[in-house]
């Protein structure tokens, strides 16, 4: 159980999407600051 959800559910609903999203947000920061084209 993580956050009240079965582990598999947690990773599907929150964990993996959050990791992908954070990765995109970091790239967004790099785009805005001109470090990524």
């Amino acid at each position: 159980m993580i956050l009240g959800l079965p582990a598999m559910s947690f990773w599907l609903l929150i964990g993996i999407p959050a990791i992908i999203l954070i990765y995109m947000l970091i790239d967004s920061w790099r785009i805005m600051t001109g470090r990524k084209d």
């Binding site: 956050l3 009240g4 959800l5 079965p6 598999m8 559910s9 599907l12 609903l13 929150i14 993996i16 999407p17 992908i20 999203l21 995109m24 947000l25 790239d27 967004s28 785009i31 805005m32």
Partner: protein, 488 residues
Amino acid sequence: MSGTTIGIIVFGLYLIIIVVLGLVAGRYQETEADFWVAGRRFGLGVMIMANMAAIMHGGAILSGVAFTAKFGGVAILPYISFVGGAAIIFYLFAKKLRQSGGFTIPDYMGDRFDSRALRAWSAIVVAVSSIVYLIAQLRGMAFVLEQLLGIDFMMSLVLGTIIFVVYVALGGLLAVVWTNIAQFLFMWLGLLILVPFVYNAVGGWNEVLRSVEAVVPGWTSPTGVSWSAGYMLSWYLIWFVAYSTRLEFVTKMYAARNDRIARVSVPISIGLVMIFLLYGNFYLGAAARIMVWDQIASPDQAFPLLVAELLTPALGALALTGIAAAAMSTTDSLLLLSGSAIAHDLLRRCLDEPNGVQRDEKVYLRISRWSIVIVGAIAFVAAIPDLALILRIVSFAIAIVGSAFFFPLLVGMTSKRVSREATLASSIGGVLVTCVWIYGALSKASWATAVHPGIVGLAVAGLLMLVVTLFTRPVSDVALGKYFPEAS
């Protein structure tokens, strides 16, 4: 003050605000670009709001709570598909679409593959799918107005259609986005009123999950209450395709001030939508399952009854009106999409320009506005009879749009090799097979009910694109230059 009176006041206020916004936005319209892509003036904040409004479909809360309560929260909310679709738009589509300087997806199809046939075909798919969806939305809206204002169905339909047509025809995308922001604020107001009451009744996150799992074992599992693993996977796949080809969302990329803003707006919007749905669908869906599930005849009543149980009549009317107001925000985007397919893609790009006809921008602006009026009139007439079939077709609309555009966008943005003929075969073949499969599913044929029409359509579309590309040649470097600058 009674609930109905509060409903009428809040809804009246909402209608006045959106019509005024439409009138003001109308003053900014000089050219076709002002109308369809708001002059490409949107900064990051407006883009995020516009994207969120585009992603959250009509009944995001009402049907979201109903389905989450019924099937289970993790199964029904394919967050991986949402971020997967967003990642495709972020990394592959947004920059190239914005830099291409087009207005619509048919613009992309016509320019990238140097084909008038593809442009016309895409415009027809966009126009037909949007109008069918629009008919369902207008009927839904008329039912809401009927209940809120106490007038008959026909009057509600006339009133609702006129309001939408007037502000969209006057203000184009600018009016749509401004009013979407207003609708969003109303929706938040409606949802935030609920927070302390739901918390008192069912407790916080962990407590709700424990209670719902005790009442309905499996509610928090990946496959939910009643799905098989195979069904869950196809559901996730369909939503992944639907999100990466969501026309209202992808088309917004054209309206950003520059390609950086277009790209950066994507993950921020999708992240906010996910947080929003975690409360607005997951938590409230679980609460509805615990509190009101035994008392309702159909899942659609879950949210209204939850509100009725928790709030006083006056506050309940305020919350429901806010949600109903926001549920209408899809209607204007659909009017705009189908109007642009007819006025910009078919008339200007397919008929006028190839035949050397030149018209003033003012004329095109007038044509654009009339196209909105005509689409509104068609949808209005079609919404009068109770066509149950339309509502059933709508539930498959994402499959048609996905099989028409997913591979042309994905492969067309990443490979120079894919040919015009392959894209035509893929898009037309995919849509035809999807339609046959939808017909099968609607008539309950055994061969069609096992797999979702979208999966079959996509498989055929992908296969046709691959096979036909092997035997045909890529488009010229001149046409490629817009999307692959290094090729020209």
